[in-house]
């Protein structure tokens, strides 16, 4: 009789684990498919000129260098604004905040921020950063706008990562007389680092691909030179992709997919970098 029970549990275990593996396949296969499809369709457009020239003939000829640089600037700007503030907010919420109405309000605010449509962030950025703060149509305004959008993600994942550090670590540290901030800085944060990086990567990746928020705060389709200061307008791969795919007649198909491919490569390399960092910090954690 026991064998019967064990067998049925083993069978249900096998089906369950197969389902889990299947779910992973469903998640992974589309990504690989999309990457391969993009390479096949866009590979023909990639050339040294494409990557280093400025666009010409409304994007039908020439290259996309300023868009590549612009996207990098945006990612950097978003990182600079969203990461420190987001992590600090995460620290506040887990380590310092008392469980009162204010904290619950903050938590609610964060989760809701994640659901605001990207176009609304764009309008927010326009009213606040472009007009009220008077930054004008600029890289700065766009970075701040994207950072606001990224904030929710960074705070949430930082908070989850910090919460996951076992209480004993903190208690042990405080017990030997280390102050709270030092506990956070030298014990908790390093342990939480992989999770924090996950959140940052997801948020920055999304920033690189977002079109709607940067539409109204400074993204341009044609610029004669690279932005010389944060107050200049900029080009971006996402906006360029949107415009060449939707609004320019007689656009060769490979050019559109070429831009998509470059954007994908940019995002990919950023992801790989962060994954490498995370793997190394996780390995250090285990030791």
């Amino acid at each position: 009789m026991t064998t019967g029970v064990v067998n049925s549990r083993r069978i249900s275990q096998r089906t369950a684990l197969t389902f889990l593996g299947l779910a992973t396949a469903i998640t992974v296969v589309p990504v690989l498919f999309i990457i391969i499809y993009t390479i096949i369709n866009g590979g023909a457009a990639i050339s040294w000129d494409f990557l280093t020239q400025f666009p010409s003939q409304a994007g039908r000829a020439g290259g996309i260098l300023p868009a590549i640089i612009g996207t990098f600037y945006l990612m950097l700007g978003t990182l600079v604004f969203a990461l420190p503030l987001g992590v600090m907010a995460g620290i506040y919420l887990t380590e310092y905040a008392r469980d009162n109405w204010l904290t619950r309000l903050i938590n609610l605010a964060i989760v809701n921020l994640a659901g605001v449509p990207s176009i609304v962030f764009g309008l927010f950025g326009l009213s606040v950063f472009v007009l009220a703060f008077n930054f004008g149509l600029s890289l700065l305004a766009a970075s701040l706008t994207l950072a606001c959008q990224a904030l929710a993600m960074v705070i949430t994942s930082s908070r989850e990562a910090i919460l996951a550090v076992p209480r004993e670590y903190r208690e042990g540290s405080l017990a030997i007389g280390v102050t709270k901030w030092q506990t956070v800085r030298y014990i908790v944060l390093p342990q939480a680092l992989p999770g924090i990086i996950t959140g940052a990567v997801l948020a920055i990746s999304r920033a690189a691909g977002e079109t709607a928020p940067i539409l109204v705060v400074g993204a341009a389709f044609l610029l004669p030179k690279l932005p010389q200061s944060p107050f200049d307008q900029f080009m971006a791969l996402s906006y360029h992709l949107y415009t060449v795919s939707a609004h320019v007649p007689n656009m060769p198909k490979e050019t559109v997919w070429g831009v998509a491919l470059v954007l994908l490569v940019v995002v990919l390399s950023f992801d790989m970098l962060a994954a490498a960092i995370r793997i190394k910090t996780r390995r250090r954690k285990q030791s």
């Binding site: 003939q57 939707a246 007649p249």
Partner: protein
Amino acid sequence: MSKSSRKWLVPLMLAIALAFSGCNSNLPSADSSTFSGSIKIVGSNTVTPLSSVWAENFMKANPKVSIAVSGPGSGVGIASLIDGITDICQSSRLITTKEIEQAKAKGVNPYEVQVASDALSVIVNLSNPVSELTIEQLSAIYTGKITNWKELGGIDAPIVAMARDTNSGTHVFFKEHVVQMYGLPTADKTLEYGNKVLFLPSTEEGVSQVANNPNAIFYAGLGYVTDKVKTIAVKRTAGDPAVRPSVDSALDGTYSISRPLVYYTNGAPTGVIKAYIDYCLSEEGQKVVLEAGFVPLTKRR
């Protein structure tokens, strides 16, 4: 954060320094030219490809000038002009009275210059036997009164009517001039697009949908028409001749669905802005209009 995060900071900084210092735009070496300054152009996505080529050509001839061109819509462009954050607004619709009031209240004087025209072509799939339609029939298709191609002499299949969304100037233009049949005896200002009509965010998407869907119908500017779709010859009324959309038929007025593309500036343009707009209106500039798939202001002499 710890050392591991600093490891990639340095190469990142290097990359940025390189980017700032190294790459230049591919402008030719300076001639003696009298114009310098910078121009911002914001507004319609339809006019963006046209403005981009104009800007590029103008900058080549006047290397000390820099022009930035962006979308994302006529409304945003006009609002940017009113807010004072752009020099030129490119628009595929005319400014409304309310916007003029807002502008005046902020001390801005919108000055209109028509720079080109856009002939809206009605397109269907290559396999669709229907090739002529009256404006009244088009109106019936887009209000949902006629739902099957067989009512128009085609095959027995449902009509998949596609249009541009309200972001595009074509939405309102098509509504007034085709759906509501402006200027015709059957004109009816109460008619609306039917609620089964698909509103698409981009003209390219509409054209490719029509190319792949035998039952689809869409309207697009002349420049977007490819050989994968078929244009419909439009008859003003059942008694008029059917006219295919083309630059010529738009210029001589026989093709009835054609709309103006305009530039708005704050007050009459001066200095480098005037020079730029003069270039756009010149014969060279209008040649660009033709190449971009739009309709120039006058026939080529």
